[in-house]
């Protein structure tokens, strides 16, 4: 049955809001010291994960980043298992051995989030080779940030994907800051997408806060890549609503490296609020219906948090297990 444009938008809305609420819950749990370690939240960038992963199947691979919760949820990650992993519990995706930065589920095509900036490029490229070898039309999607495009892995991987004509889509989430450094201070070209030309890779820059734009761009790109058209570099302009990590002074106290003006400019372009307006104004969806969606999401999150809280810690014997397959 054909899914209508409205149904698709409602799906995106649910997905984006699920990610947002997951992140806000993670933030409060972190503040309450129920979640420890390093946590990098995706709030503000949800339209990219939702718009990209909305078109993928379980056969398609993704590699994610340290700011990866959104990608994982959008690719089908289970909230209970994710939350339990953030808690470090034995029931988490990685049995509590990975944590926020290292979540993986190959059965969903998720080849892992990654604590090393720019490390996903070669991994996604290799997964692209696997997809091409299997010949099943699957693609590999590499999520990365603007700052990662300054790593050598970017250069080597995009070049390789181009010469091997691999089905890889490199999705840049350009939130304009590599931790504290503005992208303008980190590269001389205006857009990460400009770099595609250096490898003979098609590229585009789009509004990453507009899920409709992301979704439409992906639809065309995917068709081409699945048909053997080779890799694509898609740059999505966006903004992270929170600090680089939970505890970042730029977010907690003062505008240390981002200005109040640019923060306000981008917060006014919140992807979820934008979609909500579209649904209400253009599709006549009642606010009550959207509030019901949120209530359902919050219930799911309550369940996930409770599951994580109630789950056992990993047994001490787990420490030595699993170094080798």
């Amino acid at each position: 049955m054909e899914i209508t444009a409205l149904e698709k938008l409602l799906e995106h809305y649910r997905m984006m809001l699920t990610i947002r609420e997951f992140e806000l819950r993670a933030a409060s749990l972190y503040e309450a010291a129920e979640i420890l370690g390093f946590v990098h939240l995706y709030a503000g960038e949800e339209a990219i994960a939702a718009g990209v992963c909305g078109h993928l199947t379980e056969k398609d691979y993704i590699t994610s980043t340290h700011r990866g919760h959104g990608h994982l949820i959008a690719k089908g990650g289970k909230l209970r298992l994710m939350m339990a992993e953030l808690f470090g519990k034995s029931t988490g995706y990685c049995g509590g051995k990975g944590g926020s930065m290292h979540i993986c589920d190959p059965s969903l095509g998720i080849l892992g989030s990654n604590g090393i900036v720019g490390a996903g490029f070669p991994i996604a490229t290799g997964a692209g080779l696997a997809a091409k070898t299997y010949g099943d039309g699957a693609v590999s999607v590499c999520f990365f940030g603007d700052a990662a495009s300054n790593r050598g892995t970017f250069h080597e991987s995009l070049n390789l994907a181009a010469v091997w004509n691999l089905p890889v889509i490199y999705v840049c989430e350009n939130n304009q800051y590599g931790i504290s450094m503005n992208v303008k201070d980190a590269m001389k070209v205006e857009h990460v997408a400009d770099r595609g030309a250096a490898y003979g890779i098609k590229s585009a820059t789009i509004d990453g806060n507009d899920v409709i734009a992301v979704s439409e761009a992906m639809e065309g790109i995917l068709k081409d890549v699945r048909d053997g058209g080779g890799p694509f570099l898609l740059e999505c302009m966006t903004w992270r609503h929170r600090g680089h990590f939970e505890g970042d002074p730029d977010f907690c106290n003062d505008y240390l490296y981002r200005s109040k003006e640019e923060d306000e400019y981008w917060l006014a372009r919140d992807p979820i609020a934008g979609l909500r307006n579209t649904l209400v104004d253009e599709y006549g969806i009642g606010l009550a219906r959207l509030d019901r969606v949120r209530a359902e999401i919050l219930r799911e999150l309550d369940d996930a948090v409770e599951f994580a809280r109630q789950s056992p810690e990993p047994d001490a014997s787990e420490m030595l297990r699993g170094v080798f397959a």
């Binding site: 995706y93 990685c94 049995g95 490029f121 290799g126 696997a130 080597e156 390789l160 170094v323 397959a325």
Partner: protein, 323 residues
């Protein structure tokens, strides 16, 4: 048993695996048309084509790194990094990605890949094409490390390595490619983690691997002339190590001498020495001795390079001093 070279034994092993496993492929710089920088893959590109024998740009990070992704997605890559020195270019992909993935992802992913690379001095290849770097890899949990020294071990360990579900660093030695020895035809494996007792003896245990196996054997002969019976053990696998064989030998002989081509400080000999202290201290009649390269880069000049390398005379002299 047929006699073949170390190089052809490896080539033969690759052919066997290429025929057996459709998911297995070889990738690296000049491994295709050129036949391999050291000719190890000669003839394979013509026989199996460019998708199984993949020439790659000079991009060590992508060579090693793409293999991590390919392996995680189910392929069985064997990549070549032309010299072990070049591993410095792609250590993140090996150490932070390949080695850690199985553990940090709670066992959800395995990374069945082999990284072939080669070390060793002896042909005036100078500082950036000659070093030995075993302990860099043995220090990393999640990596297996093998270093064969005979044609039979090269072939048998290669076939074990490519069928292992973990990342394996396969260390060859540039001076060994021309070495001949007996090697079975067809498919066989040498298990990872099993040492080879090359020569049995009663008075001292000489522990070695790779090219130093032959230094150990020669020293064993020289010692025999002096009335000392040396047991020579070629470790073959450096991670995991066959500690059982090592410790049993040292308990028998009461003396241990380690010879390796790595520089001495923080070389793998230090680890072996410590394990012997921990596991066989009461049997020791003399302190453990290490014979290793000095703590310098490998010099270019032939005389200096020869001076840099451990040899059978040094090993013999050091061994005699232990009595």
């Amino acid at each position: 048993m047929a006699v073949t070279t170390y190089l052809n034994a490896l080539n033969d092993a690759m052919r066997i695996e290429l025929e057996r496993d459709p998911l297995f492929y070889i990738a690296g710089e000049d491994v295709g048309r050129f036949g391999g920088p050291h000719l190890v893959t000669h003839g394979l590109w013509k026989e199996f084509g460019g998708e199984r024998i993949r020439d790659m740009p000079i991009s060590e990070t992508a060579i090693l790194g793409h293999a991590v992704g390919a392996a995680a997605a189910g392929l069985h890559p064997c990549v070549e990094i032309m010299y072990v020195d070049f591993m410095a270019v792609c250590m993140d992909e090996l150490v932070n990605q390949a080695a850690k993935m199985h553990y940090m992802f709670g066992g959800k992913v395995s990374v069945p890949m082999v990284v072939r690379t080669l070390g060793g001095a002896g042909m005036q290849a100078s500082a950036q094409h000659s070093q030995s770097w075993e302990s860099l890899f043995t220090h990393v949990p999640g990596l297996k490390v093998v270093s064969p020294s005979t044609p039979m071990d090269a072939k048998g360990l290669f076939l074990s390595s490519v069928r292992d579900p973990n990342p394996v660093v396969f260390l060859e030695h540039k001076m060994l490619y021309g070495f001949s020895g007996e090697c079975p035809d067809g498919d066989f494996t040498v298990p990872i983690g099993k040492a080879d007792v090359v020569k049995e003896g009663t008075d001292i245990t000489i522990i070695c691997w790779s090219y130093m196996r032959y230094v150990g054997i020669q020293a064993g002969k020289l010692l025999q002339e002096k009335g000392v019976s040396a047991e020579v053990i070629d470790l073959r696998s450096l991670s995991p190590v066959d500690w059982e064989t090592v410790l049993a030998s040292v308990r028998k002989t009461g003396r241990a001498l380690i010879v390796h081509e790595e520089v001495k400080t923080s070389g793998f000999g230090g680890e072996i020495s410590a394990r012997i202290m921990e596991g066989a201290f009461d049997s020791l009649k003399s302190p453990v001795v290490r014979v290793a390269a000095p703590d310098t880069p490998v010099p270019f000049n032939g005389n200096l390079e020869a001076e840099f390398l451990p040899n059978e005379k040094i090993v013999t002299d050091k061994a005699v001093q232990m009595f």
